[in-house]
Each structure stands twice: as C-alpha cells, then as structure tokens.
C-alpha cells in the first residue's frame, strides 16, 4: 500500500475512534441549559406546571417564554391532559377557560376545549320565563327524552355563545322529566336553547343543546357542580350527578342562588319499577329569541 493510503486508513480509524469517544463514551456535559434540553420526564413536568400556572396567573407572554423551544407535539397532549384533570377536579371556571385558551392555541381540539373556549356554544339573550315549573313525571324510556337533533338541512342562524356570560336565574323551565329505577341513583339534566328560525317563510322552533353551562346541586350540608357537554354521546347539553338516596336536592343552573329550578328528593322505587332508587333526566329549556 502507498504511504498516503496508509495515512488515510489511519485517519479514518482515528476519526472513528475519536467520534466514538466524543459522541458516545464521553459527550460534553452541559451546564446552564434551558428547558428543551431537560430529560423527557422533566420536560413534561415543566410543560404541565407551565400550563397550570397559566390557568392561575393568566400571563400569556411569560407562558410563551416558558414554552419557547419545546416541541408542540409534546405540549399538546400535556395541555389536553391538564385541562381534563382541571375539569375533573373542579377548578374554577376562569382557570378552565384560560387553560382551554392555551390548549386551543396549540391546536388541541377536544370537547373540553370547545366547551371552555366557547367555540361551539352560544350566549343567548334570554327571555325570562318566570318561575320554574315542575311537570308530572312520565315513565317513558330515557332515549325518548333526548333533545331532538338540530335540523342541518335548513339554513341555521349563527349564534355566538360565550360560557362566561352568566344568564339570569330561573330562565330554564322543565319540559320533560324521565324517571328510571337505578342503583345508585343519579340526577341528569339536558339543557337546550329554544329559538325560532324562519324556513321558507315558515317559522320553526329549533332546540340547540347548551354546552359549557354550570349545573349545581345543593343539599343541606353540601353542593356539587357539573358542566354540560362532557358526555357528548348523551348530548352537548347533558350533565349528570350521582346522588345519595333519601336526600333532598335543589337544582340550579349557572349560579347556585335564588330560587332553584327544581327541588328533588331521591325516593325509592315502588311496585313494578323494580328495586333501587328513582333517577331522573330533566330536559330544561330556555328561550332564545
């Protein structure tokens, strides 16, 4: 072999050995690093805390600085998970809305994001309907009480709904109540907005489900809250509670003040209904226009 050939062979071997050492055996240790260089679990923790902090602090610029350089593919699932967890643990509405805004910014498209950013909900201008009125229970199966689907074959007016727009008390009235016998018992509500549209010069009443509305159950020494829309297969206006047998509950929409929409006592099933407790699905309607 020629001398230069030997030189090149030595060069290649030296290069390979050197790169093995510098890249694998003894890579440089970094100090003064920044979040994108954190180990994956720490990065996830950083992102999670940043999303949570945005819900508390509402500081958009600081949040963007904290997330700078981090891959969006990592931010997305964590932000979605933080939002879901915040919903589950009953964080304040304003916190949920901020987290949802951040999640939406990163392109997350979940029901929770829709509900808390108000992306598919509308804030009707309600017409007060007086006091709530209970109607006599029916024994129709639950499925029949579902809100009629929106007719999509006709032009539908565009509504803008924001979840932050609290509506007055008692705007809802019960239009149907379905009783079933279950154990444990539950109370479910399905909220809808009734409004009139004109189709081919004929006025038709349309019901739109209302997601993102707070539903409250208050009892003697406690309270529980749910937000409509988290069980999309039951309808965007649906929310439910597991309740205790024998207890008396007051049902409120949006804010737990004033006269309740309904007062419900969880009673045992009787006769042919079977064993267990009476569960209810209330369909509540409010007037839109």
């Amino acid at each position: 072999m020629k001398p230069w050939g030997v030189l090149i062979v030595g060069l290649i071997l030296g290069l390979a050995a050197g790169l093995l050492y510098t890249w694998v055996i003894s890579p440089p240790e970094y100090y003064d690093t920044y979040p994108p260089l954190l180990d994956k679990p720490y990065r996830a923790d950083w992102i999670q805390m940043t999303v949570l902090a945005y819900g508390v602090e509402d500081n958009w610029n600081r949040t963007q600085l904290r997330l700078q350089g981090l891959p969006e593919a990592e931010i997305r699932p964590i932000a979605a998970s933080v939002l879901d967890s915040a919903v589950d643990t009953g964080r304040p509405l304003v916190t949920l809305q901020r987290i949802a805004k951040l999640a939406a910014f990163y392109g997350i498209d979940t029901p929770a994001v829709h509900v808390y950013t108000g992306a598919n909900s509308a804030a009707p201008t309600p017409a007060p309907t007086g006091t709530a009125q209970a109607i006599s229970p029916t024994s129709a199966p639950m499925a029949t009480a579902a809100i009629p689907p929106t007719n999509t074959s006709v032009p539908v007016p565009t509504l803008t709904i924001t979840t932050s727009t609290a509506t007055p008390l008692n705007e809802f009235h019960i239009v149907s109540q379905t009783l079933t016998c279950t154990d444990p018992p539950h109370i479910a509500v399905s909220l809808a907005l009734s409004h009139t549209i004109t189709v081919r010069r004929r006025e038709e009443v349309e019901w739109l489900p209302l997601p993102g509305r707070e539903v409250w159950l208050l009892w003697e020494d406690g309270a529980d809250r749910a937000v409509t829309g988290f069980n999309p297969e039951m309808g965007l206006g649906y929310a439910d509670f597991t309740v205790a047998p024998g207890r008396v509950y007051k049902l409120y929409i949006d804010v737990p003040r004033g006269a309740p929409v309904s007062t419900i006592q969880v009673e045992p099933c009787t006769g042919d209904e079977g064993e267990g407790w009476i569960s209810r699905l209330l369909v509540l309607l409010t007037q839109g226009d």
Partner: protein, 124 residues
C-alpha cells in the same frame, strides 16, 4: 530496505491515527457536539432554575400536593427555595410571586421572618 519502507508506512499510519483523533475531538466536542436532551433541572441556567421554582410553588398552590412539590424541589440545588425566596423578598418582588413561595416554604417547615408578611397576606 524492507524495514525502512515498513517503518515509513507505520509512521504514516500513526500520523493518520493522530490526525483522525484530533479531528474527531474537534468535531465531537466543539463543532458538532452531541446535544442530548437529558439534563436535569439542577443543570438549568440560574434564571430557568428560578422559574422552575416559581412553577413548583404555583403548582403546589393549585394541587396542594406537598409530596410532589418536595420531589420536584429535590431536583434543584439544596436550599434553593429559601435562598431564592429571601433574595426576591429583598428585591421587592410582587406578592403574586412571593406568596406561593413563602407558603410552600412554610409547609415544608421553613419560615423566615422575611416571609411572615407574605404568609399573612396570603392567608385566606
């Protein structure tokens, strides 16, 4: 004659090896160092470490999970929480920053005189 040629080749080979290793060190440590995302919070730049501390305190305010906060703090240099909080108190940082830090320090059993006003202001 044969040995001289052989020695010359060996010399070229060694020169090649040395040059190759030198080039590799230059590439591997300076020009194209491997950037592994495997550092811990303790290796973050100081301002990021302080931000990490703030995030821990805010997260603790929200989730009330002291064990998790302790685990997170364990990744930072010891006494970071107290030293940073004291320094920021001296610098007159806002209540929004200092109250969560002071509350976390208190719940971890550390409470300095400087933190007291923030604990009182942060009391429900």
């Amino acid at each position: 004659m044969y040995d001289a040629v052989h020695m010359k080749r060996l010399l070229w080979f060694i020169v090649g090896i040395v040059l190759g290793i030198g080039l590799a060190l230059l590439i591997g440590w300076q020009l194209l160092p491997v950037q592994r995302a495997n550092s811990s919070p303790a290796l973050l730049r100081r301002d990021y470490q302080e931000e990490y501390l703030r995030l821990i305190a805010i997260a603790y305010q929200v989730d009330d999970d002291l064990t998790l906060a302790q685990q997170r703090l364990a990744e930072l240099p010891p006494d970071s929480l107290v030293s940073v909080t004291e320094r920021w108190i001296a610098q007159g940082k806002s209540d929004a920053i200092l109250i969560p830090l002071a509350q976390l320090a208190r719940d971890l059993g550390v409470s300095t005189p400087g933190m007291q006003p923030y604990l009182q202001r942060g009391a429900p």
